[in-house]
């Protein structure tokens, strides 16, 4: 058990993100790609994700304002969004993306709108939690640094 209280807090924060289902093992895979030379890799990827996916969220938003819905287009956007979300281990966001796509495929407009609202909530929640986590990590030094065999 780490004696440093901040590091302990960081570890608890990190574990709860997994326990509560916000993150899945894909996040751990990203952590494995971090090392002393690239200590902020995970934060960089997550930052890139939020910056890049904002565009997709906006596209979906606009597409949901045009009736009737172009379900093909919506599904296409969500496919991309789901892909990136999956790559950073955003578990709940990914689940909502899957749900949205199912509604697209069954041409369920109501379902799409509901799923999108829920998705945006999860997306925003995760962002807040990860921002807090990375902020603490920067102060303490990241927990997970991969040690690779030479």
């Amino acid at each position: 058990m780490d004696r440093n209280p901040m590091r302990r807090q960081l570890a608890i924060m990190r574990q709860s993100l997994f326990d509560q289902g916000y993150l899945d093992e894909q996040f751990i895979e990203l952590e494995q790609l971090q090392d002393d030379a690239n200590p902020n890799f995970v934060e960089e990827v997550v930052t890139l994700y939020y910056r890049d996916s904002a565009r997709l969220i906006l596209n979906i938003q606009h597409a949901l304002e045009r009736k009737p819905f172009d379900f093909n287009k919506l599904d296409g956007y969500m496919h991309q969004f789901k892909g990136s979300s999956s790559s950073i281990g955003a578990n709940k966001v990914k689940a909502e993306s899957t749900l949205f796509r199912e509604y697209c495929r069954s041409a369920n407009a109501e379902g799409c709108m509901r799923a999108f609202q829920q998705l945006k909530k999860e997306y925003a929640t995760l962002r807040k939690k990860l921002e807090a986590y990375f902020q603490l990590a920067r102060q303490t030094g990241p927990l997970e640094t991969a040690t690779r065999p030479k």
Binding site: Q26, D52, Q80, K82, G83, S84, S87, I88, R148
Partner: protein, 164 residues
């Protein structure tokens, strides 16, 4: 072995200076990574660099062909210092799909020996079959690949013909 992500040049003792000897077994594997997703490109680039590969990452099949010198517009004289040993490409991309890129590479007399690995977030058997039939070396379901630590040995083994 360079881990800092830059392209490394290895100078040989030959008079003509920079020269990649294809029989040099300690040479880094050069991978051309193709993916329209910014996030995935960043991750795969990092993964490959950690695995001691040189990486060129592009965002489309068209750009991949341009890099190889296979596009219709440019006429490459065939000499490329940055010889590509392996192509890893996403399947679903706007414009040219990974499958179409695979076909172009396999149709080329110059590049058909380069192994092409396809990545996809969707586990569709027909898609996998189609790619393997067209000559893909492997088909990987994302994001599973990002967990792999490709050691140079494993990557080199998937480069059977490129090394001669």
């Amino acid at each position: 072995m360079a881990r800092n992500g830059g392209v490394t040049w290895r100078r040989t003792e030959k008079i003509d200076g920079f020269n990649f000897s294809p029989t040099d077994s300690t040479e880094e594997v050069h991978v051309l990574a193709v993916d329209d997703s910014l996030v995935d490109r960043k991750v795969i680039e990092r993964l490959l660099r950690i695995s001691s590969c040189k990486v060129t990452a592009v965002d489309s099949g068209i750009r991949a062909l341009q890099f190889l010198g296979l596009d219709e517009e440019k006429n490459s004289d065939g000499f490329n210092d940055l010889k590509v040993d392996l192509i890893i490409t996403d399947y679903c991309m706007p414009g040219m799909t990974g499958y179409e890129l695979l076909k172009k590479v396999k149709e080329s007399s110059v590049f058909r020996e380069i192994p092409v690995v396809i990545m996809s977030s969707e586990n569709v058997l027909a898609r996998i079959d189609r790619c393997l039939e067209e000559g893909a070396e492997d088909f990987i379901v994302k994001p599973g690949i990002f967990g792999r630590r490709l050691d140079s040995g494993a990557v080199a083994m998937s480069v059977p013909c490129a090394r001669g």
